[in-house]
Amino acid sequence: MEELGKRAMAGDVRAASRLIRNMEDNMPGTEAAIKHIFPFTGKAHVIGITGSPGAGKSTLTDEMIASYRNKDKTVGVMAVDPTSPFTGGALLGDRIRMQRHAEDTGVFVRSMATRGAMGGLSKAVGDGIHVLDVMGKDVIIVETVGVGQQEVEIINHAHTIIVVLVPGMGDEVQALKAGLMEIADIFVINKADREGAARLHKETLSMLQMGKFENGWIPPIVSVESVSEPISFAQSVGVLTDKIDEHYQYLIKSNILATRSHRKATAEIYESLRAAILAPILDDLAANGELELMVQKIMKRELDPYSLAELVAEKYLISHDCLKV
């Protein structure tokens, strides 16, 4: 497995894609590869793109790739799509919009399914970013599903966060209220030639005026034309990537990059602990049937979840002083 890590670092696309898959699939021994590559990570500029489904994130990502390629930067993309809760299968369709870059060796696009595992997705994305990073990609774009609590977790891996809004969806303000407001570094109003774009712009602006921006960066709002006008679309996405670069420079100059890296490191610790401690416990409990017994006890009100958690901690953790309040 370490071998895969080495080959990925040498730019072997096959090795890199296999490594990402092994991480995603929790293949035994994957940690060894991550341990190997980790010291060499932290070079790329990681951009997170979020916004409701149908906001045009993939199309925007595609044009951002083109824009960065024009600036001579290499690009890695991780695009996340939902797993069907009924069948466990997934249709990963984001890639379609980016296929024109398939033959460009400076671009690597990887689709990923949410798979619904607790915390697992964020870990897989985080690990995937490390692989793209050591492959030498200058810019890494993470495109999220656009819904659910995993959203914010994934976003914690990024330096610059783009929130994509689109007029006429009716849920723009809700998205802002749902916590994306706090994490956005740049707002994009996509399909800005549509009816309602001006109003959306105004609403976003007034939201921003109510916000507090302690680090001094006030998120700009970039309007992007509809993709049905490819030429002006490309121009406006060029403006967007300029803004993104400006944000990155700001992070570096103002030393906020350290704060972001702090946030990213914290997220990674949570995830690795969850994978190393919680996941094996849950697997064990499930395998020996105890988990089901616990569920029954809680349902019958014979036990409450908090006492149960204490019991589990006592059983598995040698020292659990930290768990007692």
Binding site: R14, S17, R21, M27, G89, R95, A102, A113, A117
Partner: protein, 134 residues
């Protein structure tokens, strides 16, 4: 605990845009529990091979109805091989005359599905023949 899933790329190489079959198949494979990457219409063999490698799929399913399968299908197999990815299984479907079947198998296609193949038979074929790499 490992959680290997079968990953399949569905691609339409060539200029033909009749994507009814490809889209039905993509949905069917999703419903069979596979992870499906669909690349859309009008792909060159180079684009298909490159996507298959970046996505680390187990299978590439090709669909082409224009009659250009004799060039396009073997070309995808060839490009995968050149890039050290000949462990990716390539299968194809569409209007393929009987006389073209053997040359396509000889070129490295592992299965060919012609009009009338049921969705179930395709899923069964995948389940029986594709074992995700360890």
């Amino acid at each position: 605990m490992s959680d290997r899933k079968i990953r399949i790329l569905i691609a339409k190489p060539g200029l033909d845009g009749h994507d009814r079959g490809a889209k039905v198949l993509a949905r069917c494979f999703r419903d069979a529990g596979f992870e499906v990457i669909y690349t859309g219409c009008h792909q060159t063999p180079e684009q298909v091979a490159s996507a298959a490698i970046q996505e680390d799929v187990d299978v590439v399913g090709l669909s082409c109805l224009s009659g250009a399968h004799m060039y396009l299908y073997p070309q995808v197999v060839k490009l995968l091989k050149e890039q050290g990815a000949d462990d990716i299984t390539v299968i194809g479907g569409g209007i393929i005359p009987d006389k073209d079947l053997q040359p396509l198998y000889d070129a490295g296609l592992k299965a060919l599905f012609t009009p009338g193949a049921t969705l179930e038979s395709l899923v069964d074929w995948i389940n029986e023949n594709i074992h995700p790499r360890t």
